[in-house]
Amino acid sequence: MIDTAVLKQALGDLEEDKVEALLGEFIAEGPSPEETQSVVEACQQGMEIVGDNFEAGTYFVGDLMYAAQILTASLEKLKPLMSAGSGQEAKGVIVLGTVVGDIHDIGKNIFKALLEAAGFTVVDIGIDQPATAFVDAVKANSPQLVGLSGVLTLSIASMKDIIDALGEAGLRDKVKVMIGGNAVSAETSEFVGADYWSKNAAASVRKGLEYVS
C-alpha cells in the first residue's frame, strides 16, 4: 500500500520520477475508489507544500509550473480509478479568463492549476474575452469568484469594463472579483473596483479559499 506521506512529500519536493513510480505501483495494485481518493488528496497536499514554498520565496514560477504539470499528470492517471461521486465536493466555483485585448494565458493557467489542486471547480473561458463572455459565464455557472487575468497594461481598462458590466447585470454583489497578472497593482485594483489583486498565484488561491469558507 502506498505511503501517502511519502507521496505528498515527493510532490512537494518536485520529484517527478518518484511520484510517477509511486503512482505506478499504487495503480498496479488495483486500488478501490476510496483508496484512490486518499491518494488524490495526498497529491493535493503535496501541491500545498509547493504553494507554501513559493510564498516563502524558495520556489519560483518555473517550479510552480513544474509542480502543476506533475499534479495534472498524476490526476489524469488516477481519474479512471475513481467512481462517480467518490470525489471531493468542490470548495467553490470560479469563472476565470484573460480579459479582452490580451492573449496571454500562462499566468491564468498556473492559477487554474493551483485552484484545481485546491479543490475549486474552474470555468476557464479562455483568452481575449470581453465583458459579455464573463457576464454570461457568471449567469450560467453561479460562481462565488471571478478571476480576471492580464499581462499588458491595456488589460486595465478591460478589467474595469468587465467589473462594470457585472454591476450592470446585477451580479457584482454575488461574486468576489480577483485580478492577477503583470498589469495589476494596488492602484489598478482600486481603479477597476476589484475585491483583491495579486501577482502571486499561490496567495490568490489562499484568498479564494478564504472567500468561499
Binding site: L14, E16, Y59, F60, V61, G62, D63, M65, Y66, Q69, V100, G101, D102, I103, H104, D105, I106, N109, D128, P130, L152, T153, L154, I156, A157, N182, S185, E187, T188, E190, F191
Partner: protein, 384 residues
C-alpha cells in the same frame, strides 16, 4: 528653429554625459509610449495605423505634442504586415489590434539534437515552416514569401526611422538609450521563439544538458543580430529580458546567465553597449548585472531602487521603476511626491535617467494631465 537646435544640443550633451559615465547636469527624461497608446491619444484607429504610416506618424506626433521628453517618446517594434505576409503564428493581433506574442512551441523536445548540431538548418528547414504558414511549402514559394516579407520589413523599418528622424528634428530630441538593433538573451530566444515558456521551464528540470547545449548553440546568431554592419563607439543595442525572474537560482546560474553575459561582453568589445529591459523584478540578480561591462544600461520594470542605486548604479546607467498607472488613482501632488522620492533615492547615483517602468500601451491606463505634470516636474527639477 534656433530654439529646437538649442534644445537638441542641450539634450544631446546631457545624454552624452550620462552614457559616458559623467554626471549630467540633470537626469534625462526618456518617456516611452507604444503605437497603441499613441493611436489612443490621437484618436486614430490602431488597425489603420498598422497599414497607413502617415496615420502612424500623426499618432506618434501627438505623443510629442502632449508629453515632455528629451528623446523621441513614441515607438513601434512590431509590424503586422510582415507577420501577415509570413502567415506567422508567433506574432499575432489581439482583438484590440495590439501585436502580441502567444505561447508557442516551434521546437519539440525531440528536436533539440538537430538544433544543437546545426541551429541554422533546424530553424530554416523545420521551425520556420511550422510557425509561418507561408514558409511551409516548396522552395520557390518559400523564397518568394520570404522575399516579400523581408522587403516589407525593410520598408517598415526604414519608414519608422524616417518618422523618428522627422519628429526628432522638429522637437529637438536627442537620441535615447537605444541606437542599435535588438537581440535576445540566448536562453530567452530558445524559450520565447522555440520551446515556449512552459516547455523550456519543464526542460530545465527534465533535460537541462540539452537546454544548456541549445542555448550555447543559439549564442552566435543572437550576437550576429546585435551587431550592426558598421558599429561605432556609444551605440546601444536593445535586449528585452524575459525568463530569468521565473527561474530558480540554480537554473539561472547554469542555464540563463553564462551565454547572456558572453553576449553582452562580446557586444561591448564590438562597440555596442546593451540597454536591457529588466522585465519583472531583478533585484535578486543585481550582483550579476553589476558584473556586466559599464556600457550596460538597465531599464528596470520593478525592484528595489535603493539597492539598484547602491550597486548597479555605482558605475552603470539605470532608470525605470515609475508606474504611470498610478496617475489613475493618485492626485497630481501625490504622483509628483512619488517621483520626487524616486529622484531622491536614485539620484544618489550619477547615472540615473527617468523613464517609465515600461512603455505606456493604453491611453486608458493613464491620466494624461497628471502624467504630463510628472514629466514636466522631472525636467524642471531633477538637476544634480
Amino acid at each position: 528653429m534656433a530654439n529646437t537646435e538649442e534644445l537638441f544640443a542641450e539634450r544631446s550633451a546631457i545624454r552624452a554625459d550620462l552614457l559616458a559615465g559623467n554626471r549630467p547636469k540633470r537626469a534625462p527624461v526618456f518617456a516611452s509610449f507604444t503605437l497603441e497608446a499613441a493611436c489612443g491619444l490621437a484618436g486614430v484607429s490602431l488597425l489603420d495605423a498598422h497599414y497607413d504610416l502617415a496615420l502612424a506618424e500623426a499618432a506618434h506626433e501627438k505623443v510629442c505634442e502632449l508629453f515632455y521628453s528629451d528623446s523621441f517618446p513614441s515607438g513601434n517594434l512590431r509590424h503586422p504586415p510582415v507577420y501577415q505576409l509570413l502567415g506567422a503564428k508567433n506574432w499575432i493581433l489581439s482583438s484590440s489590434g495590439a501585436v502580441q506574442h502567444p505561447e508557442i512551441e516551434t521546437m519539440l523536445p525531440e528536436d533539440y539534437d538537430d538544433f544543437i548540431a546545426n541551429p541554422y538548418d533546424a530553424i530554416m528547414e523545420k521551425f520556420l515552416p511550422r510557425v509561418c504558414a507561408a514558409l511551409d511549402g516548396g522552395a520557390i514559394g518559400r523564397g518568394v514569401a520570404f522575399a516579400k516579407a523581408y522587403q516589407e520589413f525593410v520598408y517598415q523599418t526604414a519608414a519608422g526611422f524616417g518618422i523618428i528622424g522627422r519628429l526628432s528634428q522638429k522637437y529637438g530630441y536627442s537620441a535615447g538609450t537605444i541606437t542599435a538593433p535588438m537581440t535576445e538573451a540566448p536562453f530567452d530566444f530558445v524559450a520565447d521563439q522555440l520551446r515556449g515558456f512552459k516547455g523550456i521551464l519543464m526542460d530545465c528540470r527534465r533535460i537541462p544538458d540539452k537546454v544548456e547545449a541549445a542555448v550555447k548553440a543559439a549564442l552566435p546568431f543572437l550576437l550576429k543580430l546585435a551587431i550592426p554592419p558598421q558599429p561605432y563607439p556609444g551605440m546601444q543595442g536593445f535586449i528585452p529580458l524575459h525568463l530569468a525572474p521565473y527561474m530558480n537560482p540554480q537554473q539561472f546560474e547554469r542555464l540563463w546567465w553564462p551565454t547572456f553575459e558572453e553576449l553582452v561582453v562580446e557586444m561591448d568589445k564590438q562597440n555596442v553597449g546593451a540597454t536591457i529591459f529588466a522585465e519583472n523584478d531583478w533585484t535578486r540578480y543585481l550582483d550579476y548585472l553589476t558584473r556586466l561591462p559599464k556600457s550596460t544600461v538597465v531599464w528596470a520594470e520593478d525592484g528595489d531602487m535603493k539597492k539598484y542605486t547602491e550597486t548597479f548604479g555605482k558605475d552603470h546607467v539605470f532608470g525605470g521603476f515609475f508606474d504611470p498607472t498610478i496617475t489613475l488613482t493618485k492626485s497630481k501632488e501625490e504622483c509628483i511626491d512619488v517621483v520626487k522620492e524616486m529622484c531622491d533615492i536614485c539620484m544618489k547615483s550619477d547615472h540615473f535617467y527617468f523613464t517609465f517602468n515600461k512603455g505606456v500601451m493604453d491611453v486608458n491606463s493613464i491620466d494624461i494631465a497628471k502624467l504630463q505634470a510628472v514629466l514636466e516636474w522631472v525636467a524642471d527639477n531633477a538637476y544634480y
